[in-house]
């Protein structure tokens, strides 16, 4: 095993890991599409926050084709997917809300977390 030496630390810290992958298939969603979050409850690692399950939002950003932590964490490979940012109203997520009805929470979500909204 080669050990990281003190004079290599700075460059190591300043070298970014690229979490994107080439050869992306077509996206299932476009910016502006309404999507509903799947009620997924895997036993292992997931990046899907509990509070967003079953909620409906709008695709606000397409970030690119990213490795999937839910499989990476279990040694099942990077299995890349399209990564989106989805915009939800605070009211949709948490019910009655004292602030502005336009207050929003933006959450990054992999494509397999999402379905097209039914209405």
């Amino acid at each position: 095993m080669r050990l990281l030496q003190a004079n290599e630390v700075h460059d190591a810290i300043r070298t970014p890991t690229n979490f994107t992958r080439p050869d992306a298939p077509p996206t299932r969603f476009s910016v502006g599409d309404r999507v509903t979050v799947r009620n997924l409850n895997p036993t292992g690692h997931t990046r899907l926050p509990q509070y967003a399950k079953g909620r409906t939002g709008v695709i606000s950003i397409h970030h690119g084709f990213f490795v999937f932590p839910d499989t990476m964490a279990h040694g099942e490979g990077d299995q890349p997917q399209h990564l989106y940012n989805v915009r939800f109203t605070v009211g949709e997520l948490f019910g009655k809300h004292g602030g502005n009805p336009d207050d929003h929470v933006y959450i990054d979500m992999w494509e397999s977390y999402l379905d097209e909204a039914s209405s």
Binding site: M1, L3, L4, Q5, A6, E8, V9, H10, A12, I13, R14, T15, P16, T17, N18, F19, T20, R47, L48, P49, Y51, I61, H63, F66, V67, P69, L83, N85, V90, L93, F94, H97, G98, G99, N100, D102, D103, H104, V105, Y106, I107, D108, M109, W110
Partner: protein, 208 residues
Amino acid sequence: MEQITSSDGYTQPPPYAALRVKAIQSLLVDKGLVVEDALNEVVDLYENRIGPKDGAAVIARAWAEPEFRQQLLDDGTGTLAELGMTGFEGAHVVFVENTDTVHNVVVCTLCSCYPWAVLGLPPAWYKAPQYRSRAVMEPRDVLQEFGTFVPDDKEVRVWDSTAEIRYIVIPERPAGTEDLTVEQLAELVNRDSMIGTRLATPRQEAIA
């Protein structure tokens, strides 16, 4: 380490967490898995060299140079890479901008993801369960507890960093700062204003 001597003359042991870290560190070094100097270098980098001053310089430049601001908004990752501000916990960065109609704030509800490469280590409250759960549920109340009042006609946008994207807020430039240099402007960019829990420091409150 600071020694705390109690009234009966005995010395209190260091806190549990500090002892545990020392034990893990000495085991890793003794077993030849980590070079001690390399470990000290990591600590020194994040304690003394990489920190909010880096982010503040970027934000101040964005205030002063509209083209640079646009470049940051269009391609945060690429712009930071050109400045050498990339790397661990900062491979993909998106800048979001506060305006007279929008206030942005960043959280990581799942853990404590934070743009280390630009802002250094996160503050302790950023990692606390209270901040992480309440920032999405009742962002206005949380902001108010930081002393940040967002008027009702302004939209609050909370960014939950669930993926490898790190979000950084470009706070609004304080009024009456037209004559300041980029270096002087950077003094107004406090750490929390880049997370979004506070506004940039008003000129009169900044150290002259």
